[in-house]
Symmetry: D2
């Protein structure tokens, strides 16, 4: 049950390799098969009406799963999303961060599968759920 | 936190309204937003190689979500699946029932959303995950 | 633009390797990136009310994509579905075959992606759509 | 076979109601059940490596389906995405717009279903496919 990167290492990796998004996303916690990440909601993430936009929710889910995979296999920049399926269920609360709880369901040789529940920070009721598949490049 | 039907009532409903599948499926447990159902695996559910077929896994997930919705709104035969997304992750074990753990994520006025994790009875590691949306007919 | 198997070869393969389903499914036509398959609807495929069941629709989509992949790479029995996403849109007509039109969108080294539109034979309006990913075993 | 809004009306609506995205997205063509939209790729849409990011592809698909629905029912700002399933298949070409071809598969009383194929402008091979469900608010 070893991990390649913890939350601190993941946040450092985001800052060095994805500086354009590192200000908006943060990994709060990472364990063997669970990870919590957050979207620090800013004006760019909102849609008319003041709630978090669909693409911003997608971006948070994608980042959470990516970091979950990296937590286990290390900073492999080439892991790519191959499939995502999202259900949008409730309107996010205005003025609150969006929190993603990720579960790693499978970490295979070529594919990783995880799902994500998202809720507005401090609120009950899932805003969205997402399942994602990542393709893992062959070790060299 | 009231329920319209418990596990026993759901199993009776399956026997009376869906006799052709009631021999293969059983609700083990049902609470406010969780339900456990099982596929009693028989020869009809297998594919070459002796493992449970994809359509049988789909059928189990669909039945679990249907019963989860009925547990809350009562025996509304007209609730229908509008979307299903499944990830097949591991080969089911031969000769074991398939167990589905369902979570109700949203029960709205017109749509219900739930997800399901499936594993071979007595085995670790999810065989498949599925998210489903049901359309709920308007009350009359 | 070569094909490994045409419609006739695919139907022979289904009869020899999947005899339990070969009576219900038939490949009508196969080309480089398109395939038409049909579910010859029988009593086993119906749900209460007389329309084709969800698992039977899933089974048809799965078979169509499997045959589409085999049409290109030959009879590789080990190709397996890793993801399926289905939208159920209209009730199938009673007493009519279900026809699946498959498009191959990607045939990669490890993953194939295709989508399927299904309609009741002789009827307008798609009954369901499905996208699927198949994992292709490494050549040996 | 009437339409409520053509491509020109849709582009005007984007500029008036979604000014923050109207500079990046454009409807090229809209007919009864087909719509073509484009992401005018700018620096904000890129991920490290210079290709269009996943969230930007999601945003394009979402906008294309939204406009397809509006083309039929008129400027109903309250239509919302309830489900999206995306397959990412090829890396987009750098320095090219991303073009989305949308098909409307169902326009029901409460739900609309459409799918989208995306390719880099002037290139063969789909970059991504997406299916989406929109919930349509009741007419008042």
């Amino acid at each position: 049950m070893t991990m390649a990167m913890d939350a601190e290492a993941l946040n450092r990796f985001l800052q060095s390799d994805f500086p354009q998004v590192a200000g908006s996303f943060r990994v709060d916690d990472a364990s063997h098969d669970r990870l919590t990440a957050r979207l620090v909601v800013g004006r760019d993430h909102l849609r008319p009406g003041g709630t978090v936009s669909g693409p911003s929710m997608f971006a948070l889910a994608d980042l959470a799963v990516y970091c979950m995979v990296l937590a286990r296999i290390g900073p492999v920049a080439l892991a790519v999303t191959t499939n995502a399926s999202i259900d949008f269920m409730r309107k996010p609360a205005a003025g609150r961060d969006l929190v993603a709880e990720c579960r790693l369901l499978k970490l295979g040789r070529v594919l990783a599968v995880a799902d994500v529940l998202m809720h507005s920070d401090g609120q009950e009721g899932a805003v969205a759920r997402c399942s994602m598949t990542y393709s893992i490049p062959p070790a060299t």
